[in-house]
Structures are given as structure tokens and as C-alpha cells.
């Protein structure tokens, strides 16, 4: 025993020596940066910020995963502003999965932000932005925009900016956004004689139309919708959120008759053969549209899917997604690459300047997924496309590099669609949505009864609402 003890003393001594002689971080291992030491350096080098001063500054910038767009932006910006260093960090994912990593990322950023030491600039997409705002962790960008004469709101899709507000102010600046709509088979719809007003139709109106289309019975299109029932249900509930969830009072109404009715109604669509989970061509299809060319491709491809085994040509059209009862017109968008500035940062102005830079034509024109927030860049993209007069499917795509011609007329629908988008779709599903999707599967697969499933949802969602 004595020997063991003396051994242990030696080990402890050895350890404390090596621990002390090791620098805080040698940074030799990978690209992610050590916030501890770099922030200390940054703090030392930061006198109270004044405009136009050229003292060296560091903006610590954090995203979930590595993005070439930001790597390029960092390079270009640093070249233009030699006194600014942008420390770009992201989660290194050599193992584990997306979901696991995402949870880790949220925990890390949460801890750093709460300790007052978070990054200066953060990509907010996977983070709970509303909660950050409530804890005063993010800078108010509406104010920054107002106080900056160089920033012109009208250059951007202001409807997206307005739709992205939290508590009346903008705290996260989306660089890009995606659009959601229903691509429908106009030919079949016209032939069937089923009429509807798609710009503000409700889900019930959609179901009626779908019944009508079923009754008409196009030989090649027996289904009106190809989707997973749990996703469909989730979409419907989200559109009528307040009729199922009373958030201020912490009450959920998922055990109500009306919800059980809804469950049965959705299942009914599948039982009646109006909707299907199989991967077949349906009259309507929900589509995420990422760019002008993507819009054309989605339309044209859906027309062409039908070719080859049809006797007549189909024409597709972009319809609005159905909405909740009493919702106004306007479509859905989902913001992407949303930038938030740390309220506690000592380089807020510099970070804002960098955000403006990545919103500029120079950066937004270069690359990236989704529609650009910058309208000028969008116009350029459209012009370029029209000049080419054609879109081409990806060579490895479904129809192998097929080319479609397009005209200026085709684009009008998209313009209105973009200008009218006003309902944000959360980047990630929240807890309520997760629970709805998870539990309802058991009912749609016939494993549990509607009442049992509704009770479980009520049980778990109530927990969430009453924390």
C-alpha cells in the first residue's frame, strides 16, 4: 500500500508539471479555434471602439458546420480590411451524427453566451433564436439598420426581413431564404373542372378540391398528394397553432374532439386513396424552391415526369400552400444562414460591417444556396437566366441533363410569390412539432388508436408548455 501511495504522489507531481508547461492551446490539431486564448488576445488589443480607427480587431465568428461561402467571405473581407481578423470556427464532425452534433453545438454556444464570452457573430440557424432574444443575448439589428445610412432596406426583400422579426425587431439577418409552395398539375385540375382560389385557400378547401379530383379520376394521376401523413398533420397543426395550443396559459388541446377529428380526417385521405406515402406522381406536390433556376426546373421537370406514358402533355403551375382558416394571403419562407450579433461583443460595429459585406452583391452573387436577400442579386440571377433562355437539369438528375427553354413570362409568377412571402417556417422543428410527428406515426401506421395517440401528445406537449 505504501508503495502505491508514493507512486501516486509521483504521478500527481509529474502530471502537474506537464499540465503547467503546456500552453493553453497549441492549435495544432484542427481548424477550430481556441476561443479562450484568442478572445483574451482580442480583448487586450481592443481599446474602446471608435469608427474609422484602424487598430487591429478580431471578430470571432461561429457556425455549425464549415461553409465555403464564409471561408471565402473571410478571405475577401480581410483583404479589404487589413486591421480586421475574422476567426472562423465551426464544429468538427469526425464522428457522431448530425443530431448529436447539433445538440452539442447548442450546448456549447449556450454556455459560452451565458458566461458572457460567446462568439461575436453567430450563425443562428440551429439555435433557438427566440430564447436568445428573450435573454438579451443578441444585438438589435433593426436599430443597427436604422442608424446606418449606408444600409438601404429597399435593396433587400423587406417582406423576409419583416417576417424574420422576433418581438418586433430583427435579431437575425438571413442571408438567404427558401420558398415553399405546391406545384400542381394545371392540366388535370382544369380538365376536372374543380375550382379553387389558391392564394388563400384553407386546408379544408384543399381537401375538398382533392376529393373533387379523386371523383374526376384522371387515369394517370389517382393521388392528389404524395406526402407522409405525420408531416401533413404537422403542417396543418402549425397553420392553426392557436386553436390547439394556448401558449400564454400553457394549455394544449390535443385531446380535444376537434384534434381527434383532424387525425381521422388525415388518415381518411390515405384510406380513400387521395393521398399516398408512396413515391409516385401526384397532382400536388409540396416543393421547396431554392433559386430562380430551381423554380423552373421544378415546374418543367414535373411536366416532363409525365411524358413518355401519357397521351397528352401536362402543364404545371406553382400554387400557394394551403393555410389555416382565416390566415391572410402570402406564402411561406424559411430563412437560411441567419446571422446574429452577440449583444456583449466589443466589436459589434465591425461585426455589423461584416454582415453588410456578406449581404453585398459581391458576396451574394458569388455562391450560396437559396434566394439571396439582396434583390439586386436576385434580379441579376433572373436576367442571366433569361439571357441564357434555358435551364438544364443536373447531368445526373432524374432526366439526365435535359434542357428546357424559358421565357420572361414564366418568371412573373415567381416574382409575386417572392414579394408576398411572409410566413416564416422554423429552420428546425420545435419540441411541439417533434412530438406531433413522433406520436402520430403510431396512429397512421395502425399501431395505436387516435385517442391514445392524442392523449400522449397532450401529455408530452403540456409538459413543454408548462415549464
Amino acid at each position: 500500500m505504501k508503495k502505491t501511495i508514493s507512486m501516486m504522489i509521483i504521478v500527481v507531481l509529474l502530471f502537474s508539471i506537464t499540465a503547467c508547461s503546456k500552453p493553453a492551446n497549441t492549435g495544432e490539431t484542427n481548424k477550430s479555434i481556441d476561443e479562450g486564448s484568442s478572445r483574451e488576445e482580442a480583448a487586450k488589443e481592443k481599446p474602446p471602439a471608435k469608427k474609422d480607427d484602424n487598430s487591429p480587431k478580431t471578430i470571432v465568428f461561429s457556425t455549425f458546420f464549415e461553409d465555403g461561402f464564409f471561408v471565402e467571405a473571410k478571405k475577401k473581407y480581410e483583404a479589404k480590411h487589413p486591421n480586421i481578423t475574422i476567426e472562423y470556427s465551426f464544429i468538427d464532425s469526425d464522428d457522431a451524427t448530425f443530431m448529436g452534433k447539433m445538440e452539442e453545438y447548442i450546448k456549447k454556444i449556450n454556455t459560452a453566451m451565458l458566461s458572457g464570452n460567446g462568439p461575436d457573430l453567430i450563425q443562428m440557424d440551429v439555435l433557438p433564436i427566440g430564447k436568445y432574444v428573450n435573454k438579451n443575448l443578441l444585438a438589435d439589428m433593426s436599430k443597427m439598420m436604422d442608424n446606418d445610412p449606408a444600409f438601404k432596406r429597399e435593396d433587400y426583400f423587406t417582406n423576409v426581413l419583416d417576417g424574420s422579426k422576433v418581438n418586433g425587431s430583427l435579431y437575425g439577418m438571413p442571408l438567404n431564404f427558401f420558398m415553399y409552395g405546391f406545384i400542381g398539375n394545371e392540366t388535370v385540375i382544369e380538365k376536372s373542372g374543380v375550382a379553387f382560389e389558391d392564394h388563400n385557400w384553407s386546408w379544408n378547401q384543399f381537401f375538398e378540391a382533392a376529393e373533387g379530383l379523386k371523383a374526376y379520376g384522371d387515369p394517370n394521376y389517382s393521388y392528389s398528394l404524395a406526402a407522409y401523413p405525420e408531416e401533413l398533420l404537422n403542417g396543418i397543426v402549425m397553420d392553426q397553432y392557436t386553436s390547439f395550443v394556448d401558449e400564454p396559459n400553457g394549455k394544449a388541446k390535443f385531446d380535444s374532439d376537434s384534434f381527434i377529428q383532424l387525425l381521422k380526417q388525415v388518415k381518411g385521405l390515405y384510406d380513400k386513396g387521395i393521398a399516398t406515402t408512396e413515391n409516385v406522381h401526384s397532382i400536388f406536390r409540396e416543393e421547396q424552391i431554392n433559386s430562380p433556376s430551381d423554380y423552373f426546373l421544378a415546374l418543367k421537370l414535373s411536366e416532363n415526369f409525365a411524358k413518355g406514358y401519357e397521351s397528352y402533355e401536362y402543364k404545371s403551375k406553382l400554387y400557394s400552400s394551403p393555410k389555416g382558416e382565416g390566415q391572410g394571403k402570402g406564402g411561406y419562407f424559411r430563412s437560411y444562414k441567419t446571422m446574429g450579433i452577440n449583444e456583449k461583443s466589443s466589436v459589434k460595429e465591425e461585426a455589423w460591417d461584416f454582415v453588410k459585406f456578406i449581404l453585398s452583391e459581391e458576396m451574394q452573387g458569388s455562391r450560396g444556396t437559396g434566394f439571396p436577400l439582396n434583390k439586386e442579386v436576385y434580379k441579376q440571377q433572373v436576367e442571366e437566366l433569361l439571357k441564357k433562355g434555358k435551364v438544364e437539369d443536373h447531368p445526373e438528375g432524374f432526366l439526365g441533363g435535359i434542357v428546357f427553354t424559358i421565357t420572361a413570362q414564366d418568371i412573373e409568377g415567381l416574382d409575386i410569390f417572392l414579394e408576398q412571402a411572409q410566413y416564416p417556417v422554423a429552420f428546425n422543428r420545435d419540441q411541439v412539432q417533434e412530438i406531433i410527428v413522433e406520436e402520430s406515426k403510431a396512429y397512421f401506421s395502425g399501431q395505436k388508436s387516435a385517442v391514445a395517440v392524442a392523449k400522449l401528445m397532450q401529455n408530452r406537449i403540456s409538459l413543454y408548455l408548462n415549464e
Partner: protein, 296 residues
Amino acid sequence: MATRIWKKGVKVIRRDSAIALLFLAPSLVGFALFYFIPFVMGFFYSLQDNVVDGSFVGVDNYKELLESSSFRKAINNTLLFTGVSVPLIIALSLLLALILNQKIFFRKGLQTAFVMPLVVPIASIVMIWQILFDWNGTLNKWLQDMSIDRIDWMKSDWSMGVLIFVYVWKNIGYNIILFLAGLQSIPSDYYETADIEGAGRFPKLLHITMVYLTPTTFFVTLMSILNSFKVFRETYLIAGDYPYDRIYMLQHYMNNMFMSLDIQKLTAAATLMVAGILLLVSAMLYVERRFRQFID
């Protein structure tokens, strides 16, 4: 005479204090830095409205906390879980340790077997848990073979039972190690003396084993409570952050508060929890002091 004893006592205490400080110093420094200071800071958070630039709000956070019906549910569930599982595991582990401390066949092998659940990694536990208790799990298959309806183990009141079972299974080895070490630390002289005096087995168990096991039992009880909080990790991986409300524990509440950056409610909840445990620990320390007097 009396003053002389008193003076001597003071001297002993003073000399002891200096020595005690020497013995305690390394531990105190690190403990203060990594545990005590954060603990105090945490307590202060519970009295503020925001971690970053917060202002003092008194007991507002506590009020808000007590108004949360989910928090109250978490307290109820935690009390139920701890109240059932801790006495259960202590009784079982003590019984098993006493048996294992006797001369039975394959004693060593059995000892090892009972301790082994301790080393099973969480990934395996979660996997087996799912295989057994999933909606499509093995247990439900057996039920169906016996023409009994399936049970939704993790999404009904059964879930609490499952949790208690897993907890006892996983941690019983922990307690057995401690009890075995405790039993071995009882000087065998005591038993020999008792044998000479012709004491029976039961009086020996009651008057020597149980008495001298008091400090160990105190420790095991607290560790069992602590470990009962740790079941959260497995539960979380199985049932997520908003499980069926029967197994929604204080740990869920605190973890969710952390994920939604509500450090105020988190620390307020922790403070209340500590206050509760404080009562229990004080009571146990009192019993222990009696024991110490008895030993001296």
C-alpha cells in the same frame, strides 16, 4: 480542576485546527475554486433576472418556478422515484452484500457478477432497454404470445417501474462494493470478542455489523440519491427531453432550462432541491454524530 480540563481542551482543539488546516489545504483550494465558488455564483443567478447584466429580483424566479406545473410534476416524480428506489436499493444491496460476505459457493464469482452492471457502457444499456421495452420490443412479443395486449412501457405509468428496475439493476453493484468494503473494515476483533462472550448470529449482526456499518450506510444512502439523479442520462437517450410525464424528473426540468438558457429557473430549482436534501443530510449527520460518540 474543571478549568484545567477546559484549557487542555482548548489547546487540543487549537493544535488540531492548525494540523487540520494542513491536511485540508490542498483539497480546500481546489474545492473552493471548482465547486464552492461556482455553487455560490449559481445561487446568485437564482436571484437575478438575467445572467448577463442581470439585476436583483429577489424571489421572483422562485415564484415563477413554483407556478410551473411541469416543475411541480418533476418534484412529485422525483420524490416518488427516489422515495421508492433508494430504500429498495439499499435494502437489496445490503442483503446481497451480507450474503456475499458469507461462505457460500462461488462467492468470488458471484461478487464479480453483481458488480458488473456498473461497467456496462450507456450505449449498451440504451440498446438493451430499447430491445426489451420498445413498442415492438421483446417483452411485448412475449405478452402477445401469451395473448395479452401490448404495453406501451415507456409511455404509460409502467415507465416509472421500468426506470426503478433499471436504476436498481445498474447501481446495485456500486452499493455492494461499498457495503463489502464497509463490512471488511469492521475489525474482526469485535466479532472474536463477541464469540468469546457467546453471542448469537443475530445479536452479532444487529449490535456489531449494523452499528459499525452506520457511516457506510450514510454514505451509500447519499450516493444512491446522487446516482438516482444520474438515471436521467439513460432516460434522456431513450425518451428525449419531454418524455411521458410520469418519468419527467427534476433533471429533465433542469436540463431543459439549460437548453432554453433559463439559468435563473435552473438555479432556483437546484437551490430548492439542495434545501430539501439539506434536511435529510442534517438528520443523517446527527445520527452519525451519535455513532461517533458511541465509538469513542
